[in-house]
Symmetry: C2
Subunit: 359 residues, 2 copies
């Protein structure tokens, strides 16, 4: 039974440039549906549904994406889908949402969720929400840790007490947060067994988060505190005017690494994947006997290990291996699959060339 003061905040402001040319400013990764029929943000709302119904889902995105997200999520009230007036990091935008929720419901407890991750076992995942929310309701900050499957250097880690076992559905006091490690440290973390990936899922009372910001980021907190109530006149104008003056800082740096009352829930196997590149999508998709993934028609001769997404177009492969091929009406990407994480470099080059129509 969903508790009425539990809210979901979905952070959907990312650009997902690594999924260019499918992702563009107005069609970022979270609104794409390369994994299943529903986009990643739709899957996020679906997955939370039994625990947090859509009428208590709030979304912070940007002005390029808001219209598409409203279109994709008719079950979420459009007034709860906010566009940040300027791109800031997660601390100001979570703070803004906390300010709004607090003004609407002084008992509000928030779960913060990325819009663009994939979770293959949603029922297992939802079981984690109960201890996380209950911990938050007792006034703590709660986080979910994902058991590492390899020594990833692209994620932050959460150090749990030694001996913490995954899947026990208990919140334990977190020892500390570790920033993205170099490879030797990442290997040590994985070997030690009590280090978990920080997947950006946080739980707190709105008031607890605002208090933490007042303590650790007083300037940003003062800006938020000066805003009129959400329902009142002039709210949006005040946000547009003052939000850009907030500090450009992540909630991890601003709050989590500094707070003393952080509790963690160590997840068991929930099939979490942050879908970081075309390579990750390739890994998640069913493959033919030669390890090819095709979205759409294909003609294959002596080719293996390729990921091909060309809409409805027929793609013929002849003697090629380990490629990522993504075709759209105005741009075609062909990349070595091992270089998929560098697709963002191409987007930076397009920005340099001011190719606005392709961004």
């Amino acid at each position: 039974m969903a508790k009425k003061n539990r809210y979901g905040l979905i952070l959907a402001g990312g650009r997902g440039t690594r999924f260019w040319p499918l992702s563009r400013r107005s069609r970022a990764k979270q609104v794409l549906n390369f994994l299943g029929d529903r986009s990643l943000i739709q899957q996020t709302v679906d997955r939370l549904g039994p625990a947090i119904p859509p009428e208590r889902i709030w979304i912070v995105t940007n002005s390029h994406l808001r219209a598409e997200i409203i279109r994709q999520l008719p079950e979420v009230p459009p007034a709860q889908i906010l566009a940040e007036p300027a791109q800031r990091n997660t601390a100001p935008c979570i703070g803004l949402a906390a300010h709004i929720l607090q003004s609407l419901d002084p008992d509000a407890v928030m779960g913060v969720f990325p819009a663009d991750h994939f979770i293959s076992r949603p029922a297992e995942y939802r079981r984690l929400l109960k201890p996380a929310f209950e911990t938050a309701e007792r006034g703590h900050i709660a986080v979910i840790g994902i058991q590492p499957r390899w020594p990833e250097t692209g994620y932050g880690y959460i150090e749990f007490p030694p001996g913490t076992r995954p899947g026990t559905l208990e919140a334990v006091k977190v020892k500390r947060f570790r920033e993205k490690p170099a490879l030797p440290a990442a290997k040590r973390f994985v070997k030690a067994g009590n280090f978990y990936w920080n997947a950006g899922m946080f739980f707190w009372k709105a008031g607890v988060l605002l208090d933490a910001l007042r303590r650790f980021e007083p300037d940003t907190a003062a800006i938020l505190d000066s805003l009129p109530p959400f329902a009142g006149r002039g709210f949006h104008a005040a946000v547009t005017k003052s939000f850009p003056r907030c500090a450009n800082i992540s909630v991890d740096y601003a709050v989590l690494e500094r707070a003393q009352n952080v509790m963690g829930v160590a997840a068991g196997d929930i099939g979490w994947n942050d879908v970081g590149s075309w390579h990750a999508v390739y890994e998640l998709m069913p493959k033919d006997a030669a390890g090819n993934v095709f979205r759409g028609g294909a003609l294959v001769e002596a080719s293996a290990g390729n990921y091909v997404d060309a809409g409805g177009k027929l793609v013929a492969l002849l003697g090629v291996t380990n490629l990522v091929v993504v075709d759209t009406p105005d741009a075609l990407l062909i990349a070595d699959r091992d270089r998929a994480q560098d697709v963002g470099l191409l987007v930076k080059e397009l920005e340099r060339r001011k190719k606005e129509e392709l961004l």
Copy 2:
């Protein structure tokens, strides 16, 4: 000064499946313009122009291509652009053209030219036409030999007398024709120095060719002889009815290998290329510093030796080498450049799947 009884016959019935997906039944290789602004058949007519003006050019093609060729060559009278009623090899279709020319001009001398080859030095090439036509006017059969640049096993060879030097503009008696050789023989041919590639360029009086057919292929000759004159009533109906009964044989087998009066002109460097695959197009095109060829916009990161033709679409390459990428609105080819000659296999598979819209 162009002699008035010299005619050009351009054979334009090929499909060019190795250039799929750009080439289709109604847009075969000879009507594509991947080498310059003019299509290969336009370049062929342009190249002959000073020696054989368009009003004395005749073209045999098929029903899929005739309309496009008429559109591309407004300077050639449409009545001289014929569609063979059935796909036969070169002997019947050259015989048919000889029959027509003979009926219009009893002194007609014909040069036969493929529609889909590229020649980078057309002025040098045209110098060969004079000795070739003069030899034909003396009642011989004349051929042009291309000095081999590598031991190609995909072409036939013409054996000239030992010591024949290229570029002397003299016709000499050909010793014999050699079919496509295996590699050891091809290497011997290149080393010997008096073997030249047979590029399918032949010269004869229309009457000499018809006499040769009467001798070597009497059934086919009888069919041609039974046709009414070109200008007369019922010609096209008679062709449609009887042409399919002609032997399916090349003029090389039917006439050249059997005739005793074949003279050859050994070409110097005329920059001949039969443009046999995307790899050949790649070789002919200017390249960037990393050896990439792009038709259209490109974004390149750590990629080399690629051929990319995607119309106006931007193509981004990331960490890929030696690919052929050809994009069209309904089909996309990505091939290893070393496998470019096998593109025809993909077309065969499309035929097997009855994908008529892509053929």
